[in-house]
Structures are given as C-alpha cells and as structure tokens.
Amino acid sequence: MVEKADQIFVLLQHWLVSFLPAAWQHAAAVLLGVVAIIAVYPTLFALAVLMERKGLGRMQNRYGPNRVGPYGILQPVADGIKSLTKEDIVPFRADGLVHFVAPLVLVVAVFMGFAVLPMGRNMVLVDMDASLLFFFAMGASTELSVFMAGWSSRNKYSLLGAMRAVAQMISYEVPLLLSSVVIVMMTGSLSLERMVEAQNHYTGIFPHWFVFTPWGLAGFAMFVIASMAETNRSPFDLPEGESELVAGYFTEYSGFKFALFFLGEYVGMFGIAGLGATLFLGGWSAPFSFLTWVPSWIWFFAKVEIWICFFIWVRGTLPRLRQDQLMNFAWKFVLPMTLVNLVDAAVWRFMGEGWLRWVVCSAIVLAAYVLMGRVGMRREHLGPRSYRYAE
C-alpha cells in the first residue's frame, strides 16, 4: 500500500502506456512525463503567486488578494484570464522575431531543467549521468532569453535591465556552480539520482542530508544566495527594478508574453529550489526515518514549497541592493566562501571518519565566514559625496 502510494505516478504511467504497441511505449512514457511536468509546475506557479501576494500582504499587515473566490484563491485564474485577453503590443521599432521568441526561449529553457530533476523515487524523466551539468546548462540559457528580450525591445529601460541581468546572472553563476561542486566531490557523481541516494540514509532517526555537515551548510547558504540572484528574486531583483527601470527587460512585453516571462521566472524558481533541495536537503528523502512511509514525491514538493516560502519571506524583508553592492557581494564574499568551501570539503573527505573532522571543518567554515565578512564586506568610508558639474 505504502509502496503503491509512493509509486502512484509511475504505476499510472506504466498502466496508460501499456495500452499502446510496444514500439511506441518508450516515447509515450516520456511524453506523459513531459505533460505531467507542464501541467504541475504552472499550477504550482499559480499557487506560489497567490501565496506570495498573501504572504507579503501579511508581512505588511494587510490582507492581500481576498476578493476573487473564497479567501481570494481564484485570484490566479482571474490574473490568467486578464493576461490572456490583454492586447499584445510590439513596439514599432522592435526586432519582431527576437521579441517574439524571447519569452518562448525562457520558458523552454526553464522547463528543460525539470527533465533531470528526480521528483520522487523513480520519478525522473531522463536519468542522465551528467544531469547536474545539464541542469546548469539549461539554467544558463535563460540569460540568453533575458538579453534577447532586452535587446529586441529597443527600449533603454529594457536594455539596461537586460545588461544588469546578464551581469548579475554571470556573476552568480560562478558561486552557484562552485557551491554545488562540493556535492559532486562528495558523491563522486554528476547524477542527481546518485546524490539523492547518497543522502537517503539515516543515523538513528536523522537523515544524512548534506546540509547537516559544515561544508554542506556553508554550500547550502551560498547556494541559496546565488539561487536568489540567479532567479532575479528580491533582494537581487535589479534587472526588473520597478522603481528605476519600469519593469526591466520585459518592459515592452504585454499580454500573454508578459505572462510567459512571469511564468518562466517562477518556474525557474521551482527548478532552482528543486535542485537545491536535491543537492542539500536530500531530494525526495524523508526528514526522519519514521516518516519514510510518506510518498517520496510529497517530500520533494514540500521542500520546494518551503524553499519558495523562504524566498517570499526574504522578499518581504530585504530592500533591493545597489549594483555595486551586488557585485561586491558576489565577488568578494560569495565566491571566496565557495572556494574555501571546496577546500573544506576536501579536508572532510580525506580526514576520514571521526569527530575531529567535524571540529576542523566547522572551524574552517566559521573562520572563513567571520574573516570574509569582516574584510570583504568592510564598508569603505569615502566621506561625504561631492559633485562637480561641467562648467
């Protein structure tokens, strides 16, 4: 029974496919998986948008949307209808083809990442040996779509937003990759399936998640920061800074194309959250050994949702960074931390079992954090600003 619930989607897929001739079965199975992903994540997107609006509202001591349907739960439906019925405006001087393709590129690239994410036991669309690499390759190609959107709009705000986005995404791509490299070092594999399996053990009731090790915790923290920047989330939402750039790279998008950008952004968030959960939080494994009877896919989606909630929480808390602060933070703090973390992981690996490695590795991480925080993030006192105007 427990086994059945855990594998319900896999069994359903097998059962549906069994009606087809043998030659088609493999292709049909993949197609079904794709359909499931394309159905589930936009639904989650709608849910997340509602959750975000309500959650942010509560953080600001107001209700948030509560007019459409009971407690406003139909708000995403209303938003969807609205964006579908709006006029699609393309600027006269815009590069029509690129302008049209940009949101599609974003959505496709973002959805491609889910092909390799294990969303439950045996629930991975393509079990690739280098799935981590594939995920990052797909994640990086969202930058292309952002720049396509900004460039083709022929609008200064779009272009500035796209420039910022590319600068930011490239800067944070490095720490994002480096912080996940420690997991590769530990598991000796680039396959996300292997990584989940490596974490799916228990000591007593506690799991062997990588986040519960010194290098895992540091890597996790850096990954969270970098993932926020990668998905253009507040406080790193400079590319679409409403207060200075209208809407950044998608200023000139309206109607359903805008909705696609919005969808792409949130689905990208789910993707990175799912990857982070897989790398550091044990993927679909249960948080306690006595909870393993709960279906694995529930744990995966619960972790993704909690991750999203944390993103919303951070968005409600922090103001937007300035461009130089963003870059300083990336290159002077996050990147050195991830490099130290690599050394830390290596030390952990070669010290063997025992309590000593806990002490040494924790000390390294903590010392690096304090030192880097003091030195790298030191505020430079430049004195009062003075302006000289051209005479």
Partner: protein
C-alpha cells in the same frame, strides 16, 4: 557579524506575518463595501440644495442669485433663472432656479459655493458613492437629484445645521420684528394723522390699509416655512 541584521529583519517580518493573524490591531484594513468606518462630521464630498418642508420644489432655499455659479472655480454649476417668483422663507417673493445642474465629474469639492451662498441654500453632502456607468447623464446632477431636505442636512452635519437654523430663525425674527415695527410705525403714523386732523377721517382710513398689507405676507409664509 555579517548577516546578523538580515536575521533580525527576517524575525521582524515573521513577527508581523504571524501577528497579523493574531492581533486585530495590526490588521487595520477596513474591508470597504462590507464594513465602513463612520465618517467625520465635517466630511464633505459634493454639494446639495437644501429645501424646507415636504415639497422639494416649493421649499428650495435657492433664489437663483448665481453667486455660486460665478464663484465656482472649475465652473461646474449651471443655473437658469425662473420667469415667475415664489415666496422664500421670510415670505419675500423671489425668483427660483428653473434649472440647477452640477457636474460631478467637474466638481472639486472645494466648498466655495457653500461659503459664498447668502441664503444657506447649498451645503456639502458626505455621500461619496457617486460613481455611475452612465458617464454623460449620470454625472450631471439636476435640481431634483440635488435637492435634500433640511432634516437630511441635520442628520449628516448636525452641529452645522443647528447653527444654520439658528441663524435663519434669527434672520426671520428680525424680518418679522422689522415688519411689525414698520406696521406699528405705519399704524402710529396713521393714528397720529388721524388724531392731528380729527375732522377729515378719510386720510386716516387711507393710511391703515398699507400697514395691513405689509404685515400680511410676512406672516403667511413664516407659518408655511416652519
């Protein structure tokens, strides 16, 4: 240490998030169409015309003097004078507005029309739900739509309406006493004339009727206006 402030900030937002579910004081939103806050007494939105008595057309205080029309900064008032006259609250026959239109979409709620009106005929309403789907006819309020009874005025601005009523009563009393004094003076004059020229009684008889004439109209509408 680095990140301390961020953690403190996260704790603050978490406190607000949880608090908004627990304490009613945090969540100050008034869910407008279902619940309303009581309006301040001095709240003003859009002018209305005050009338006395039961019949709005007969009781309109407005005498179509057009001062408000001239003073209105955005020029949202349109008045047409009547050809005939009707008695006002003191009893003096006055012309009245045959047309009195105010455009809601133009009015800026400045209350200048109220301040310049010498007849206490136009006052500010606190009714604010004036939106309509008919943007041409629906936003142009005519006489009938603008006319509100003095009792209504008392319910929305009790203090101000009390002051206005007192002032009007004083004015009326003054007018009455003036009329009475005039009548008395006329009577006295007539009596003096009668006593002085005792022999020919004709001029005295001529002098009395005008005195009666001046008092009679003053009493009639005074009774009707109350």
């Amino acid at each position: 240490m680095l990140g301390e402030g961020i953690l403190r900030g996260l704790a603050e937002t978490a406190r607000n998030f949880a608090g908004s579910y627990v304490s009613k004081e945090r969540l100050t939103t008034v869910q407008y169409p279902e619940e309303r806050e009581p309006q301040a007494e001095a709240a003003r939105v859009f002018p209305f015309l005050v009338y006395d008595g039961a019949d709005w057309e007969a009781g309109l205080r407005c005498v179509a003097c057009q001062i408000c029309e001239k003073e209105c900064p955005p020029k949202c008032i349109y008045i047409e004078k009547s050809k005939d006259k009707k008695p006002d609250f003191v009893g003096k026959p006055q012309i009245y507005p045959a047309r009195f239109d105010i455009d809601v979409s133009v009015c800026m709620s400045c209350q200048i029309c109220v301040e310049v009106c010498p007849f206490e005929a136009i006052k500010m309403n606190n009714e604010f739900e004036l939106s309509t789907d008919d943007r041409f006819g629906g936003l142009l309020m005519d006489r009938e739509a603008l006319a509100k009874s003095n009792e209504y005025y008392h319910t929305i601005h009790p203090t101000e309406a009390g002051e206005v009523d007192a002032r009007l009563a004083e004015e009326k009393a003054k007018a009455e006493s003036k009329a009475k004094a005039a009548a008395e003076a006329a009577a006295a004059k007539a009596a003096a004339a009668a006593s002085a020229a005792a022999a020919p009684s004709v001029p005295a008889a001529q002098a009395t009727p005008p005195a009666d004439k001046s008092t009679a109209p003053a009493e009639n509408p005074a009774g009707g206006g109350e």
